[in-house]
Structure formats: structure tokens, C-alpha cells
């Protein structure tokens, strides 16, 4: 039985807590195969976000092990890896959503341009206005479509007049490709839309505050293929004006939407490179096993 098969069996058996998986693996020989240093080219010149030696702990369990990578300007970076590899955890560090989990502790340096994200003097409210997030499950507010999109601009005081707000709402909905579908029923509840529409509404809501970076945590995992295609199209369009980091389970999706891809394994960043390179000439055995579907 080779290593990948073993891992496959192991992952099937322990599909519960990623931290348990990581911990158990420390004691076996498999982690020998995780490279000391990330393979490929995790760094770029003049990055939008710069992460160095990031460790994340849940209580005493380490979920992320010394991850260093850059996200370039107007770039779509895909984070892939088997379940529980820490890609979502890493994503949530980038706008400090992990702050809400009491037992979660983040070490290392994370910068948004020159701003230290974990600077205690930094207000998370300000950070989250710059780094927006779209979640796995569409989660529109129990408000009207209009109010969903207008919520962010309102709390940040981005629009003083009603007409400004109307403009922001329309623009955001247009960018999210939802305007034509909902322009006649802006007052109806956002929760009444279909799943794909809801997710696009959530994207519109996120970009309404004009963030610099948009984080997407498996945005299509709850959607059907047609809705997924729409969202992917949208991501490509958005990448012209935004920097995007997307966590995805679908390698095809990563290949379709991203310029660079990072492969996470059990909390380590194994390989990061141009998306083409990762999928055509993976340099590490683990990456290869994953993208060829031998486990994950």
C-alpha cells in the first residue's frame, strides 16, 4: 500500500476534525513527505497581501504550520487541498474572521499592503471594509434585496444621499450580474431568491463597500452547475478590479478562474505556483497525487 492510498483510507476514516488529522499525522511517517519549504513560487513582487510564517492554533492543536505566501494585485489565487487541510482557516485569517472563535490563536505576520492585519491598534471594522468575504453557504440578510446591498455602505457611511446609495446598489448588482433579474423587485426579501441568485446577492453586498480584496470560501459548493458557471464568470470579471482569494474543492474551478494556485496539505502549504504549472507540471508528489485524484 503506497502512501497516497494509506492517506486515502485514513482520510475516509477521519473525516471529522482537521486538527485531529494533523496531530495524528505528526506521529506517522507521512509527514516526512511534506516539504520543509513550500515548493514552487509562493512569492510575487509588490504583493497586495503578504503572509509570512503564519501559524494558527485551535487551543493547543496547530491547524496551520508556518505558511508563507503572497497574493498579487488583481490576481485570483485559488487555495486547494483535501478537506481539513486548513485552507478555509487560512482564508479567514486574512480578514480576522477567526477573531470570533475564542480558542483560535494566530501567529506570524500578515500584511495588507503596508498595514499589519494583526496590529492590535487596527480596527477590524476598517479591515473588513477593505477585505470583504463571501461565504460557503449563501447567507443574505433577512432584509430586502436593496437593504442587503445597501447595508455595508450604510454602516460605513459611504453614501450620504439616497441617490448615491441607489447608485451604489445598482452598480454592485450590475457587477454581480444580478441587476436585470431583480431590478423590479428590489423590495422583496433577499431570502426569496434562488440559491445562485442569493450567492450573487452576497457578492454584490460584499463589493458594495468597494473592498480591495475579496475572500471567497467555497462560494459555489452549495450551487448547481449553471449557477456555478455564472459565479465563475463573475469572478473572472471581478478580478479586473479586485484581488480575490478563493477556497475551492473543485480543481476544475481552480483551473478555470485562478491565475495562481496554492496547494495545502494538513496545514502545510506544500506547493504554490502559476495555476497552469500546478495542474500540468506539479513539482511535489503530494500535489500530484491530489490533482490526479488519488486522494482528497
Amino acid at each position: 500500500m503506497d502512501i497516497a492510498e494509506k492517506m486515502n483510507v485514513f482520510q475516509d476514516a477521519v473525516q471529522v476534525d482537521p486538527r485531529v488529522v494533523a496531530q495524528e499525522h505528526m506521529m506517522t511517517e507521512e509527514n516526512l513527505y511534506i516539504p520543509e519549504k513550500t515548493v514552487g513560487a509562493p512569492f510575487v513582487d509588490d504583493p497586495k497581501m503578504r503572509m509570512r510564517d503564519v501559524n494558527v492554533f485551535y487551543d493547543t492543536d496547530q491547524a496551520i504550520h508556518g505558511v508563507s505566501l503572497d497574493i498579487g494585485k488583481n490576481e485570483v489565487v485559488a487555495l486547494i487541498g483535501p478537506s481539513g487541510c486548513g485552507k478555509s482557516t487560512f482564508l479567514r485569517c486574512m480578514n480576522r474572521m477567526n477573531d470570533t472563535i475564542d480558542i483560535c490563536r494566530v501567529e506570524g505576520s500578515l500584511h495588507l499592503e503596508n498595514q499589519d492585519i494583526y496590529d492590535p491598534k487596527l480596527d477590524v471594522v476598517e479591515l473588513r471594509a477593505r477585505v470583504g468575504m463571501v461565504f460557503q453557504k449563501p447567507n443574505p440578510f433577512p432584509k430586502s434585496i436593496y437593504d442587503n446591498v445597501a447595508y455595508g455602505p450604510r454602516i460605513h457611511g459611504l453614501a450620504n444621499r439616497k441617490t448615491d446609495l441607489d447608485e451604489i446598489v445598482e452598480n454592485s448588482l450590475r457587477k454581480a450580474g444580478l441587476w436585470d433579474e431583480v431590478k423590479d423587485r428590489l423590495d422583496s426579501p433577499g431570502t426569496g431568491l434562488s440559491g445562485g441568485q442569493q450567492q450573487r446577492l452576497c457578492i454584490a453586498r460584499t463589493i458594495a463597500v468597494s473592498p480591495e480584496v475579496v475572500l471567497m470560501d467555497e462560494p459555489c459548493s452549495a450551487l448547481d452547475p449553471i449557477a456555478t458557471a455564472k459565479i465563475e464568470e463573475l469572478i473572472r470579471e471581478l478580478s479586473e478590479s479586485y484581488t480575490i482569494a478563493i477556497v475551492t474543492h473543485s480543481m476544475q474551478q481552480a483551473a478555470r478562474v485562478s491565475q495562481r494556485t496554492a496547494y495545502f496539505h494538513l496545514g502545510w502549504l506544500v506547493e504554490m505556483n502559476d495555476t497552469d504549472t500546478v495542474f500540468t507540471k506539479p513539482q511535489h508528489e503530494l500535489t500530484e497525487s491530489y490533482i490526479t485524484g488519488r486522494f482528497g
Binding site: N95, M97, T100, D102, V124, V125, E126, L127, R128, A129, G132, M133, F135, K137, N139, P140, F141, P142, Y151, G152, I155, H156, P189, T191, C202, R205, T206, V209
Partner: protein, 422 residues
């Protein structure tokens, strides 16, 4: 047919039987509950309905200045000391001539409620020109006479009227000189030693003021405590300790809260006895755990995705709580609050401890006036010996139950209404 299908068929019949049995158990349980409720209501309504009407008697009243000992009805002092009972007695004697014996005369006068005198005084005060005139007026009967008329033929023999009195009553009844009407005093007066003059308005007002204090205090405090514990409090031993103690408080017998109120509010802070304010404070302590626990459950039920969405957009903790958590949790909180209020409305024991069991005739006008509350009124009347108070007890229970059922219905309706909005 395969072996599996065969096997499935066999067990299927058994499974369906088990399911039917299971359903039957449920129906049994519900039937027993409904039966108990039905018995309770039949008993209470059967006893209580008679308190809602009362008999009065027609008397020819002459406002005779000599008998009244009043020559100027505008003189308040004369009015105050007028001999109104004598006028009523005269009217009765005129109706039943030949009653000479002193004791018989007294027995005859006892058939009419003592409220008759007060009524005559009020009439005279309002329209002094009545002096010297004669009018046919309807007067409340005394409670025993009233009960005699309300009783069935068989029960009349055991009525608390002498044979002589019974003869008079029958004569009045046959002459159509008595009539039944709605018992207004039940809803317009406070307590009284005379059942026909006693009402539950005093208790209703007392309950109202007590509930007002309880609601004004327990709902905001309970919701604030729940929000803090759920949203802001750090998770440590201290908050665990608080949580355990809130749950403990919910299990403390209510009379203990009464003793606490007596010692702290009345003993330490020197607040007056028997007032709705203290009652409200005590009931606040009692309902707080209920409200906190149900509010926390409602807050916990708010989907975390909504919180995350708002926080992801940069909403502050306060904005998340005020704009999303509270509106979404409100229906649950209100339901908890109303159920807590209903519990407080039906509470008796702690109020006995702080003196709300006193006999109070005056209608309370505020939270600082001595008062009693509905359940305590039930307790008071239930321990009175007069036959009429038995029916009045049931009537008071009916009123109390009406309030409770209304509140619980309101809780259900409100929950449905508010939930639909989202």
C-alpha cells in the same frame, strides 16, 4: 419473490402495528390531558357562572324627611348621618304588613343588602328634590337571599334563610318583585365582607400594576442579561458559575422569593407593605430566570451565517447584535417574556409573604397603593365561609383564566406574526 422481500413483508406488518400502537399512546395522553382540562372548566364554570348575575328586589321607597331625619339634603352633615336603613325597612314593612316582632323585623330587613342605604344617600346627594317623593326602586338582595333565589328547588331547603325569610322570598318571587340582572358590582368594586358588594376590580387593578412593574423591570433586565451572556461575556469559570446559578434560580420555590422580598425590600429598604411595587419587584426576581433562559435560547437560535455575513461586511459587535441578532431573536424572547408574565400573574405564594393578602376595599390607583392580586383574591374568597363567596371564587378563577389564556394566545399569535416577517 426473493427472500429479502419475504422477510421485509413479515416485519413490515409488525412495524406498522408498532406504529399504530405508538400513535394510540399519544392520542391517549392527549385525551387524558383534555379530559382533565374539561373537568376543571366544567367544575369552575358550573360553580362560577352564578356570580355573574344577581337578583334585586323592587321596593316602594318614600324619601320621608322624618324617617330619614333629614330636612335639608344640601347639608352634607345631615346627609352623612341620615337614617337610610329605616327607609328601606319601612318599605319592606309596607310590603309585608303585620311583621311586628323585633326579631322578625330585623330578619326581614336583612333580606336587602346593606348597600341599599349608601345608594339612597348617593341618590339624594345628586338630586335633592327627591326628598318627600316616592319611587319604585330596585335594590340588591343580601347574598343569602340572592343565593336562595339562584338555588334549585331541592337546594333551597338547605339555604341559609329562616323559614320565615324563605316565605317572604317566595312571595316576592311569585309577585314578580325580584329580577335577575348582570352583576355590575363584580367588575366595578373592590373586596368587601358582604359578598353581594364584593368585586374583583381591586384585584384586577392590583394585578395590573404588579404586572406593569414586573414587565417594565424583568423584560429589559432579562434581555440585557441574556444578550451580554450570549454575545459579550468571556467564556470562563465565572460566567459558567453565573449560568449555573441562573438555572438554579429558576428552580427556587417561589415562596423563597417572597421571603427575600420581605427581608430586603420591606425590611431593609423600608418599602410599604401590600403594595404592587414590592409585589412587582418580587415577581421580577422570580420571572427573571425564565426570561433570561428563553432569551438566550432565542439568541442561540439565530443562524451563525447571518452574524458572519454582517461581521464580514465590517459591522461592529453592537451593530450585529442590534440589527440582526435582536430582531431575529425577538419573537422567541417575547414568547418567553409573555410566558414569564403569565407565570407571574398566577403566582400567589410570594405575594402572601409581602402582605398583598390584606383585606383591601379601596381600589388601588397606582403601584404605591395597598392592593391585592387576582390569585390572592381567589385564595381570600376561597377561605371565606359565606356561600356566595364559593361562587365568587370560581368567578374570579374564570376571570384569571381568561387573562392567562389571552396572554398565552397572544404569545403564540405574536410569535407567528413576527416570524413571518423574516
Amino acid at each position: 419473490m426473493s427472500v429479502t422481500t419475504e422477510q421485509v413483508r413479515k416485519t413490515l406488518a409488525r412495524r406498522y402495528r408498532a406504529e399504530k400502537r405508538f400513535k394510540a399512546y399519544g392520542i391517549c395522553a392527549i385525551s387524558i390531558g383534555l379530559l382533565a382540562l374539561l373537568l376543571l372548566f366544567t367544575d369552575i364554570i358550573g360553580k362560577g357562572y352564578r356570580a355573574f348575575y344577581e337578583y334585586s328586589v323592587a321596593l316602594q321607597i318614600t324619601f320621608d324627611p322624618e324617617t330619614l331625619e333629614i330636612n335639608d339634603p344640601r347639608d352634607l352633615e345631615q346627609l352623612q348621618y341620615g337614617n337610610y336603613e329605616a327607609v328601606v325597612r319601612e318599605a319592606l314593612l309596607a310590603r309585608f304588613p303585620g311583621v311586628e316582632d323585633r326579631q322578625d323585623r330585623r330578619a326581614l330587613a336583612a333580606l336587602v343588602s346593606t348597600a341599599a342605604g349608601y345608594r339612597l344617600r348617593d341618590m339624594l346627594e345628586n338630586s335633592p328634590e327627591l326628598l318627600g317623593q316616592t319611587h319604585t326602586l330596585w335594590f340588591q338582595l343580601d347574598d343569602d337571599a340572592d343565593m336562595f333565589l339562584k338555588s334549585s328547588e331541592a337546594k333551597r331547603k338547605t339555604a341559609r334563610l329562616s323559614d320565615q325569610q324563605q316565605t317572604w322570598m317566595l312571595a316576592l318571587e311569585q309577585g314578580n318583585e325580584v329580577r335577575a340582572g348582570f352583576n355590575h358590582s363584580l367588575f366595578t368594586r373592590g373586596d368587601s365582607r358582604e359578598p353581594e358588594q364584593a368585586g374583583i376590580l381591586g384585584a384586577i387593578l392590583g394585578s395590573f400594576f404588579t404586572m406593569l412593574v414586573t414587565l417594565a423591570l424583568s423584560f429589559p433586565i432579562g434581555v440585557a442579561a441574556a444578550v451580554y451572556l450570549e454575545e459579550f461575556a468571556p467564556k470562563n469559570r465565572f460566567t459558567d458559575f453565573i449560568e449555573v446559578n441562573i438555572n438554579n434560580l429558576a428552580a427556587v420555590p417561589s415562596i423563597i422569593f417572597g421571603l427575600l422580598g420581605l427581608a430586603v425590600f420591606i425590611g431593609l429598604f423600608g418599602m410599604p407593605r401590600s403594595v404592587p411595587l414590592v409585589g412587582g419587584l418580587v415577581l421580577t426576581l422570580m420571572t427573571l430566570p425564565t426570561i433570561i433562559i428563553s432569551s438566550r435560547a432565542a439568541i442561540k437560535a439565530v443562524p451563525p451565517s447571518i452574524r458572519q455575513a454582517a461581521m464580514g461586511l465590517g459591522a461592529s459587535k453592537m451593530q450585529v447584535v442590534l440589527q440582526f441578532v435582536l430582531p431575529l431573536a425577538l419573537p422567541g424572547m417575547l414568547t418567553g417574556g409573555i410566558i414569564g408574565m403569565a407565570q407571574a400573574l398566577g403566582e400567589t405564594a410570594p405575594l402572601l409573604m409581602i402582605g398583598m393578602v390584606a383585606f383591601i376595599v379601596e381600589l388601588p390607583t397606582g403601584a404605591m397603593d395597598a392592593a391585592t392580586v387576582l390569585p390572592v383574591q381567589v385564595f381570600l374568597w376561597a377561605s371565606s365561609p359565606e356561600q356566595s363567596f364559593v361562587t365568587m371564587t370560581s368567578a374570579a378563577i374564570m376571570v384569571l383564566m381568561t387573562f392567562l389564556i389571552t396572554m398565552n394566545t397572544l404569545a403564540v399569535v405574536m410569535r407567528k406574526r413576527l416570524e413571518r416577517r423574516w
